[in-house]
Amino acid sequence: MTYEEIHKILKEKFGDSVGELVNNPPSDPYVEVSAEKLFDICLELRDNPELDFDYLMCLSGVDFPENLQVVYHLYSMNKKHKFVLKVTVPKDNPKVPSIERIWRSADWHEREAYDLFGIIFEGHHNLIRIFLPYDWEGHPLRKDYKEPETYHGMRVPY
Amino acid sequence: MGIGLSHYIILSAILFGLGIFAIITRKNAVLVLMGVELVLNSANINFIAFSKFNNLKIDGHIAAIFVIMLAAIEVAVALAIVLNIYQNYKHINVDEIDNLKD
């Protein structure tokens, strides 16, 4: 199935929660969806036998100057088609529903996005830091992040 | 003074007394078992001592072999019971194991 067809199915089912398909090559086409409906949309994407997205390729957080974004790259093993979802959340309240229960691979990816960007995935069973130590402060992949001077008595900058 | 029969008997008597003391005072079931082992060992010393000082009759040795065998059996079964008790009570204090399992 092409991006347009998938988008049409989603649009019919969820209406305004699904944004327009943005397609400007060489970038991959993507769709912006609202954070509230994300869980249902993902469930539909996985369980609709026509769509059958059983494989979450990648989940990335992005820090744009005014807001944070989570990007979901989906793939279907059987149908061999791809799809890209984007969720935009404000910086002061970065809350996205967790889709860990739909694709287990989202578990660690969400923890990573939480660790590095501070995006809070609601409903995640174990949202703790994954790379950095548990007592680390700040989310380093945000553009305004300043590295700490010391950590446990060890100097951090060169 | 050469080492005579009485030396061995006294040695085994002391060992016996110590074993009895351990059996009475110890709370832990495994330590009680260890007391029993001491008692059995003291008995064995007697058997063999008597055997030696009786013109090397072999009967004492046979008896000792059976005692050793019995000790092995006893420890195996007793430890199995102890493990079972531990699984039910989470401790093996013999004084506190006083209710029958229903």
Binding site: F131, L132, P133, P140, Y151, M154, V156, Y158 | -
Partner: protein, 181 residues
Amino acid sequence: MGLLNRLDNPYETGGIILGTLEDILNWGRSKSDWYLHFGLACCAIEFMSMNASHFDFMRFGIIPRATPRQADFIMITGTVTLKMAERIKVLWEQMAEPKYCISVGSCANSGGPYWQYGYHVLKGVDRIIPVHVYVPGCPPRPEAMEEGMMKLQKMIDQQAIFRKRQRLAEEEKLFELQNKG
């Protein structure tokens, strides 16, 4: 005490027994170095290559040990992150004297490629434990690690156990420093 004092004197003034003894002890130490099996990152792969048949680290009498208690030296092969640094400190403390440390690769020497923006990388392992030999490279060739090892052996060989050859060792260090510039 008098005897001890005399024995304590350097070679030249007659402490021959202790001098020879020290030679033997140093020989044993330098020829039989057991390392702590401790790989961190890319350099660890080259380190494995060095253990493999083509380079055969064991030629130098070096045997891997899994526990720090039995190891004589530790090779920090790879990037030390802040999360890891405390563990390395503990490991170092667990090792039995006499102990040595070789820092292998740019990352362990100074943070390497990550020294600038690596917010989670310790910039040089010498900030937490003493380092005896620095081996440069990213990752160093297995031969380079062996060369570093030989440098360490040379250093151990001339170590002063009974304070005999302190002067010699200092001279050696000075020479090394001058040669670098």
